[in-house]
Symmetry: C2
Subunit: 360 residues, 2 copies
């Protein structure tokens, strides 16, 4: 069976890191007889430039028809001054929502070879391996009503944070499933001492917990969680939280590793009758417009996102591991792109990094 993959390179360094994934896919087709049927599409600024729209119906239809989507990155200063409604980010939010990608998996992993890149002391982060589950299609990102209007003559901006029981339940189930495959510890992060919406969140997580008696569950307020990530991140295994808190905490956790250019992510929808989920994979890093087009960006986060695709969309865990090991080996061999450069290592280009990975 061919695997239908939609590639959305996006903006900034998106296209050049995506090219290295393409090479890995070519290698897999040739050497391991894995066939991908690849479509390319536009999203974000690139789509605005071509169609005045950060996500066209055509690209969306391609995404819905694909088995998996791989995204580079969106946004850049060129489109910063556009009105709120047609900014590049809108394309990203729309594709998540329309594809129903409610479960965002953001691993924060410290690679042994890169432990020195963290701003935290080695003993605090060595071996760190957290999985953050962020709810991605609900909460304050999508809640209605929202806007800016005059109220009694005063301009007022408002947004709505809203979660229903089924929305919380489905992300909680993914989180517990994930915990079962890992160290069986789940920390749910909320602000139940202030926000009623997260009182409900906590209740639902507690209810779902009954179906997973082996998982050790804890609840933490978001302010404490942001402290604990800095104080002792290794206390966590799986964390699950709302869209907004997940945005903040997963970026904090990513930065603890010191190597943003290394971190992949996956966004998954609900399983259909055949157990298949709509899925989009993307690196955690942004479009880095300042270094775009110079062949110096780190392609490993996008390649690792592709590995996640193999694991979660195509049940090809062995091939995913093959790629992940190749990444470890390339790092052990001393190759580094600029973002993870350390004294005594060899600084290489985007292209050379991709090539070395394939050789591994």
């Amino acid at each position: 069976t061919t695997k239908k993959v939609l590639m959305l390179p996006g903006d900034g360094i998106g296209p050049e890191v995506m090219r290295q994934v393409q090479r890995v896919m070519d290698w897999m087709a040739k050497k391991r007889n894995v066939n991908f049927e690849i479509t390319e599409g536009l999203i974000g600024g690139a789509s605005i430039d071509a169609h005045n729209n950060p996500l066209t119906d055509e690209t969306l239809a391609d995404a819905m028809a694909a088995d998996a989507v791989l995204l580079g990155a969106v946004g850049g200063p060129k489109w910063d001054d556009l009105p709120f409604d047609i900014k590049p980010e809108r394309g990203l939010l729309k594709i998540r929502k329309e594809m129903g990608l409610f479960a965002n998996l953001r691993p924060a992993l410290v690679f042994d070879a890169l432990v020195g890149a963290s701003t935290l002391k080695e003993e605090v982060v060595k071996g760190l391996d957290i999985m953050i589950l962020r709810e991605l299609t609900g909460g304050i990102y999508f809640g209605q009503p929202r806007g800016i209007e005059e109220r009694d003559g005063v301009r007022t901006g408002f947004n709505t944070l809203v979660y229903s029981e089924p929305e919380v339940e489905r992300i909680a189930r993914v989180a517990f499933d994930m915990a079962m495959k890992r160290d069986k510890r789940l920390c749910s992060v909320d602000k139940a001492n202030v926000l009623e919406s997260t009182v409900l969140w906590r209740e639902v997580v507690e209810r779902v917990a009954k179906d997973f008696p082996e998982v050790e569950v804890s609840h933490m307020y978001v302010d404490n969680a942001s402290m604990q990530l800095v104080r002792n991140p290794k206390q966590f295994d799986v964390m699950v939280t709302t869209n907004m808190f997940g945005d903040i905490l997963s970026d904090c956790a990513a930065m603890l590793t010191g190597s943003l250019g290394m971190l992949p992510s996956a966004s998954l929808g609900a399983a259909d009758a055949d157990g298949k989920r709509k899925a989009l994979y993307e690196p955690v890093h942004g479009s880095a417009p300042d270094i775009a087009g110079q062949d110096i960006a780190n392609p490993l986060a996008t390649i690792l996102s592709f590995a996640m695709m193999l694991r979660y969309s195509f049940d090809m865990g062995d091939d995913a591991t093959l790629i992940e090991n190749a990444v470890q080996n390339v790092l052990k061999g001393g190759l580094r792109t600029g973002d993870i450069m350390q004294p005594g290592m060899a600084k290489v280009s985007t292209t050379v990094m991709g090539e070395s990975l394939i050789n591994e």
Copy 2:
């Protein structure tokens, strides 16, 4: 003129750290002829136990009549299972709201003697001195509508994030004033690429900026801010943000210093015709019920909160500096409470720490 101070020791370690402040006040009365008229009151769990109410009208009236309020800490497992509406936290939120304390000042400061206590590398945090301005009486903490209800047969929790122009403007002005007294750099944190309420926030900050041409202003998305605090916290001077983002980021910043037991905070209201502001001072740390009553808690954050009171409520900057220097000296002398204990230092009790400070 006597200075009317309301002391609210609260729960857990609150009363014992407050006792050390009391000693500093006694010393000031005797040695420097500064007279405080002190009232005591209940808040949080202590008030629930006595009156079934985390903040009585009487305590609130005392707070309104005082020149300044000093608070210990509220909350603890004893009251964790109470319904949302009568939890200890409600007392804290109510006193902030009723007193109109919209400007929460949360310094994150690394004391030279304690730089080793941080989980971050010494070069990343040595000399760190950030001031976070958190909006404290608006945003999602207080927005209406809020609650949990059935919608089409589905239980749904909801909260409202709302900011009006005047609300943003007054906190922005405090932030710019603060920046003028410091390094003239202000970073406003929002999520203007997703939340309309913070599009308005950003607009208002930009407008107020015109009145402070000497201040270098930047805007940062909250996810990036949480990364940048970990990556390179010293890039910041003053940060200003919403109630919810401020809750998360100020705790993250506090933990970067490695010594939560050292950090004070101030919450200020609007200036009246005489330029006086309602004010409440409290340590950043919580009520630490696990170590309460053992005379081992660190009283320095509360003593430093009292120093902030001298500076901001009583225009006694010199006396504030006197206390702050005494804290530095006690630390240099090698005394440590358990929370900041390091090899080779002398571990002391709450009482001894207070005493040593007074001797200094």
